[in-house]
């Protein structure tokens, strides 16, 4: 299951479109800000019955706790820090890239400007993190 964290519904739709065509059939859940993301990962409140995501794809600039704040909290929490978080953003500021990795992002991908490129990026992220790499078993 992939958790997408992005305040732009247009980007969430694009990501869903991109992933829908892959053979992986990943379940995609989306939330629109950092606070919701943290609540989801901690299984707080309305997210009490949710599974732990295998992968988080997250934008940087969002209201109510941005990607940097979520990274800082998740990657310093022993219960959550092993969840791979891919920062997926249109920012190409060197400072954003550096900071994301410093805060423990597993990788940083710039959102391509064209449809083909975007879909390719989404699929590559999915293929790599859910196909190529080995992930820890849930609960480890």
């Amino acid at each position: 299951m992939v958790l997408v964290v992005d305040d732009n519904p247009a980007d969430i739709t694009l990501l869903r479109e991109g992933l829908a065509e892959s053979a992986r059939n990943s379940r995609v859940v989306s939330v629109s800000d950092g606070e919701q993301a943290l609540a989801f990962l901690r299984r707080d409140g309305i997210y009490g019955n949710e599974d732990r995501p295998d992968l988080v794809i997250m934008d940087l600039n969002m209201p109510n706790k941005d990607g940097r704040a979520v990274l800082a909290e998740v990657k310093s929490d022993p219960a959550l820090r092993s969840i791979p978080i891919v920062i997926f953003t249109s920012s190409l500021y060197g400072a954003d890239i550096a900071r994301s990795y410093q805060l423990g992002a597993n990788c940083y991908v710039r959102k391509p400007g064209d449809l083909k490129g975007f879909v390719l990026a989404a699929r590559s992220i999915e293929d790599f993190w859910l196909g190529q790499v080995s992930l820890p078993d849930q609960g480890e």
Binding site: A10, E17, S90, L92, G113, D114, F118
Partner: protein
């Protein structure tokens, strides 16, 4: 023998060098209409030393050659209009560049939406609406993609000056080898032959040298005649600089346009004749000027072109 004191120069005649440690004064003969200005370069930090003309001494006009330039003492200079104007200009340049960079960067997001969704729309509904709608969708997608390309180009242009000084010298030959790899497809498809003399080590950013060489060689290949393009890259030491040349046997550039082609988004040919947004040479110019060098072309229509640019041979690698 009269002398010209720097502090008394009119504050209009000031420009600030790209690296902002250099003060460039445009010296005009009093009463002249501005022909033949001499650009006089001084270091901000060493105001007590005489400056020097950036053009070779043999090109000094007679009214200046006969005079001595006396920089006044540092205190008077610091209070002078000239320095104030220079600092204001430097600040303004920095702000403009930041503005261009931030604007281009932030424009990407909404443009991305337009580009991606017009493409999605075109894909999903092509053939399902009437012919007119299909045509409209094509124009929409094309326009959106072009906007996106322009923004990317503007971004590369505005990022040229934002790099820190390079820490080590870069090996020109290694950069050239990389550029050839990047252009492998274009070289293969055009049957291009790229010759290269020995290139030096020089104190510039690897990515800057790469962009310069790649843009010029790619242009040489693109703007070819019927026969396969032959491109020759050389570097020769001229005093404190390296003079690079990238020469080709392509379509050439009419003499009246040799300046204009370095402008941003300036193209000589229609989009259907040759692809591209017209930013490659503007980026080359910005890079050369970033290091205090310059770029120009020797060419005529139908006779091939020789693009030349200068870069520093000696620099002070920092950190």
């Amino acid at each position: 023998m009269g002398s010209v004191e720097v502090c008394n120069l009119k504050a209009d005649n000031v420009s600030v060098g790209k690296q902002e440690k250099k003060l460039h004064l445009l010296l005009l003969e009093e009463g002249s209409r501005g022909e033949d200005p001499v650009v006089w370069e001084m270091d901000f930090d060493r105001l007590s030393l005489p400056g020097r003309p950036t053009s070779g001494a043999e090109r000094l006009p007679s009214w200046l050659a006969a005079r001595e330039i006396c920089p006044c003492g540092p205190r008077r200079f610091a209070e002078s209009e000239v320095l104030k104007k220079a600092e204001a200009l430097a600040r303004s340049n920095r702000e403009l560049e930041q503005f261009a960079y931030v604007t281009s960067h932030d424009l990407q997001e909404p443009l991305r939406m337009v580009a991606a969704y017009s493409q999605l729309l075109a894909e999903r509904y092509r053939g399902q609406l009437d012919e007119k709608a299909d045509t409209y969708l094509s124009f929409l997608t094309e326009g959106a993609l072009r906007m996106e390309g322009l923004i990317q180009d503007l971004l590369s242009l505005s990022r040229v000056d934002s790099v820190k000084a390079p820490a080590t010298n870069v090996d020109g030959n290694a950069v050239f080898a990389d550029v050839l790899k990047n252009l492998a497809a274009a070289i293969g498809e055009s049957g291009a032959l790229i010759n290269c003399g020995t290139l030096p080590m020089l104190p510039v950013h690897r990515s800057h040298l790469a962009q310069l060489l790649q843009n010029l060689i790619a242009n040489a290949i693109k703007f070819r005649q019927q026969k396969p393009p032959v491109v020759s890259v050389q570097a020769e030491r001229t005093g404190p600089q390296w003079l690079f040349s990238v020469s080709d046997n392509g379509i050439g550039i009419p003499k009246e346009h040799v300046q204009m082609i370095f402008g941003v988004f300036r193209r000589l040919h229609g989009r259907s004749a040759y692809p591209g947004n017209g930013i490659g040479l503007a980026v080359c110019k910005k890079i050369a000027e970033h290091y205090g060098g310059s770029i120009w072309v020797e060419s005529d229509a139908g006779g091939g072109s020789s693009f030349k640019f200068t870069l520093p041979a000696e620099g002070v690698p920092t950190d």
